[in-house]
C-alpha cells in the first residue's frame, strides 16, 4: 500500500543501505536463541533425570517449570535488569526458564515411552546402566526430546523480540525502532526475518532429528 510520505510497508533502498545493521540484528537474535535453548537444556537434563529416578519428584519438578512459564517475560526482564544490567544475562535467563517446561515434559515423556521390556532385555543382556541409558534409552527418547527442542527454539525466537525492551532484542530492536519512528520498513524487516528465522531453525532441527533417528523412517508391515 503506497503512502505519499515515503513510508510504504517496505522501502528496499533502506534495506540495502542498512543491510549490515539488519544482519547484525539477525545474528544477535540467533545467538541469543541458541544460548537460551542450550542453557534451558543444560538445566532441563538434570531436572528430568531427577524426576525419572525419583517418581515422587516428578510433580514438584513439572509444577516448578510450569510456574516459571507463567511468569510474564517483561516482568522477569524488569526484575533481572537491576541485578545484571542491560546485558545478555538478563535476557537469556528468563528465556531459558521458559523453555524448561516443554523440555522437561518432553524429556520425561521420551524416556517413559521406552518399553519396559526393552529396558529389561537390556539389563538381562548384561549392559551396564550407563551403556543402557546412553545406548538404548536415550536414542529411543530422542524423538520426543527433539520435538521439545523444536518447540522451545521456535517460541524463544518469538519471545526474544520482546527483549528489545531492555535493549537486547536482536530483530525486536528493528521492530521497536520502526514502531517508535512510525517508519514501517524496519518493522516489516524485523517481523519477516523473525518468522523466517523460526521456520528455518524448525526445519533444521527436524532435519537433524531425522538424521539422528533412522529407524523411525521405516514403515511397519
Amino acid at each position: 500500500m503506497l503512502v505519499q510520505d515515503r513510508n510504504p510497508i517496505i522501502r528496499w533502498d533502506y534495506v540495502v543501505d542498512q543491510s549490515d545493521d539488519i544482519l547484525a540484528a539477525l545474528l544477535q537474535h540467533l545467538e541469543l536463541t541458541l544460548l537460551s535453548v542450550a542453557l534451558g537444556l543444560a538445566i532441563a537434563a538434570p531436572l528430568s533425570a531427577m524426576a525419572l529416578r525419583y517418581g515422587w519428584a516428578t510433580n514438584a519438578i513439572t509444577g516448578f517449570t510450569g510456574f516459571l512459564y507463567t511468569l510474564p517475560s517483561v516482568a522477569l526482564f524488569a526484575l533481572l535488569v537491576p541485578l545484571f544490567g542491560l546485558s545478555r544475562v538478563s535476557t537469556v535467563i528468563p528465556l531459558a526458564s521458559y523453555t524448561l517446561l516443554i523440555l522437561v515434559t518432553n524429556i520425561i515423556a521420551g524416556f517413559r515411552s521406552v518399553p519396559d521390556s526393552v529396558v529389561d532385555a537390556a539389563n538381562g543382556l548384561g549392559l551396564t546402566p550407563v551403556r543402557r541409558v546412553i545406548g538404548v534409552q536415550l536414542p529411543l527418547a530422542l524423538p520426543s526430546i527433539i520435538t521439545g527442542i523444536r518447540i522451545a527454539t521456535v517460541s524463544t525466537v518469538g519471545l526474544l523480540t520482546v527483549a528489545a525492551i531492555i535493549g537486547q532484542g536482536g530483530l525486536g530492536r528493528l521492530i521497536l525502532d520502526g514502531l517508535r519512528r512510525a517508519f514501517w520498513t524496519p518493522m516489516t524487516v524485523g517481523a519477516v526475518l523473525s518468522i523466517l528465522l523460526a521456520l528455518a531453525l524448525d526445519a533444521l532441527i527436524i532435519y537433524l532429528g531425522r538424521a539422528a533417528t533412522p529407524w523411525t523412517r521405516k514403515a511397519s508391515p
Partner: protein, 378 residues
C-alpha cells in the same frame, strides 16, 4: 561351552516384609544340559525365581550356584552376559537392526567384526531367519520372527544357560507350536541348561525334561519328569493343576515307536483264503488288512471273502488314517477312534510297520491288569 548345573539353595524373596514371601526357601537342583520348567499358578514366584538366577532380582536370603559357583561372586553384568535371557515381549531394541540386536553381547564383549558376522550367520540358520531380515528393524517383523531374533540374541555369545520367561506366550498357537518344536530341535544340538517359566502345563509337558510345580509363595509341590507328574501326582494340588485328563496327556508323551511290533489282522495279498479267514477269526475282526510289495494296500471286508475268489481280487478300502513311528500315542488314538477297524496302520517310510491297538496303548501306559494299589481290575 558345556552346560552348567543350576542349584537353588533355600532361596527366598520377600518384597514386603510384613506380608508373605514371594519365594519361600526354595531348594532345587537343575541338571546341566536339561530343560527345567517352572510352572504354577499366579503368585507362585516362578518369574521371581527365574529373575534371581541372573540377578535381575536379588534374593532376600539363600543362594544360587551356576556350575558350583555362587552367582554373586562375579560382577553382575559379567554374569548376565554368560546367561541367555528371553522374555515374552521379546524386548528387541527398536532403534537397531536385527543384525545389531543379535550382536549386542558380542559387541559388549569386544568381538571383532568378522567373528560377529560369522556368528550372526550361524545363528540365523539355527533359529530360522532369512538373510534379508538382518538389515531390517524389529517393527518390520512378525511376532514369531521377533521372538526368533530374541532367541538368537540370547544365544549370541553361546552362554551355557538360557532363561526363558513365557517366551512363546505372545504368539498365536500355530506359531507357538512351531517355535516349541524348534526349541526342542535347538536343544538337541546345543544341550544348554534351560530354565523355562510357563503357565501352560501342555507346554511344560512337551518341552521339559523335569517340571518343578510351584504353589503360591514358591512352595515346591513336585519336581519330576513329565510322565511321573502325570502318572503319580504328589498331592491334590498337583492333580488339580495338571488336569483331569492326565491319561490323555500321557498319550502325548509316548510315540508309536515305543510299542512292540504287532502284525494285527493283516496278511500278504497272496495269502490263501483259509489263512485269511483264520486270521479274521483269531482277531474277531470284520476287516482284514492286505499288504502288497511290503506296503499296506487296504482293508478287505470279511463279507467279501465268503465266495472263493482269491484274496488279491477282493475290494480294498483305504484306511481312515495312518500313523508313523514318530506319531504320538494320542495321534494313534485319534486314528483308531476314527476308523471302523479299531486299529491304526503304521506307515514306516512307505512300508507296513505293524498296527496299533487300544490294548497296546493301555499296556504301554501301564493301565492294563490289576491296579497295584487297590487290586481293582482296570
Amino acid at each position: 561351552m558345556s552346560a552348567l548345573a543350576i542349584r537353588l539353595d533355600e532361596l527366598s524373596k520377600s518384597f514386603n516384609p510384613d506380608g508373605p514371601p514371594a519365594v519361600d526357601s526354595l531348594t532345587l537342583d537343575m541338571a546341566g544340559g536339561s530343560i527345567v520348567a517352572l510352572i504354577g499358578p499366579s503368585g507362585c514366584g516362578k518369574t521371581t525365581t527365574l529373575r534371581m538366577i541372573n540377578r535381575l532380582i536379588e534374593p532376600t536370603s539363600g543362594g544360587i550356584q551356576l556350575g558350583g559357583a555362587d552367582v554373586t561372586h562375579r560382577p553382575v553384568e559379567e554374569l548376565r552376559r554368560d546367561i541367555g535371557y528371553v522374555i515374552q515381549q521379546v524386548g528387541l531394541f527398536p532403534h537397531r537392526t536385527i543384525a545389531q540386536n543379535i550382536a549386542t553381547v558380542p559387541k559388549t564383549l569386544g568381538w571383532d567384526k568378522a567373528r560377529t558376522a560369522a556368528r550372526i550367520d550361524e545363528l540365523s540358520d539355527l533359529v530360522g531367519l532369512d538373510a534379508d531380515m538382518l538389515d531390517r528393524y524389529p517393527d518390520e517383523l512378525s511376532g514369531g520372527q521377533q521372538q526368533r531374533v530374541g532367541v538368537a540374541r540370547a544365544l549370541a555369545a553361546d552362554p551355557p544357560v538360557l532363561l526363558m520367561d513365557e517366551p512363546f506366550g505372545a504368539v498365536d498357537p500355530i506359531v507357538r507350536a512351531r517355535l516349541q518344536d524348534e526349541l526342542l530341535g535347538l536343544q538337541s544340538e546345543l544341550h544348554k541348561t534351560i530354565v523355562l517359566v510357563t503357565h501352560d502345563i501342555d507346554e511344560a509337558l512337551k518341552l521339559a525334561d523335569r517340571i518343578a510345580l510351584l504353589n503360591v509363595g514358591g512352595i515346591l509341590e513336585q519336581y519330576a519328569t513329565p510322565d511321573e507328574l502325570l502318572r503319580a501326582p504328589a498331592n491334590e494340588f498337583v492333580e488339580q493343576f495338571v488336569g483331569e485328563d492326565r491319561g490323555v496327556k500321557r498319550l502325548q508323551l509316548s510315540t508309536v515307536s515305543q510299542l512292540p511290533f504287532e502284525q494285527g489282522p493283516v496278511v500278504p495279498a497272496d495269502a490263501e483264503l483259509t489263512q485269511a479267514r483264520a486270521v479274521l477269526e483269531e482277531y474277531r475282526s470284520e476287516w482284514l488288512g492286505v499288504v502288497e510289495d511290503e506296503s499296506f494296500a487296504g482293508w478287505v471286508a470279511a463279507a467279501d471273502l465268503a465266495d472263493s475268489r482269491p484274496l488279491a481280487q477282493a475290494t480294498r478300502y483305504p484306511p481312515a488314517g495312518r500313523v508313523t513311528p514318530h506319531s504320538t500315542l494320542r495321534n494313534a488314538m485319534e486314528v483308531i477312534m476314527n476308523s471302523n477297524t479299531s486299529v491304526a496302520i503304521i506307515d514306516d517310510g512307505g512300508r507296513f510297520g505293524g498296527v496299533v491297538t487300544l490294548e497296546a496303548i493301555r499296556a504301554e501306559l501301564g493301565l492294563s491288569g490289576a491296579d497295584p494299589q487297590t487290586g481293582a481290575v482296570v
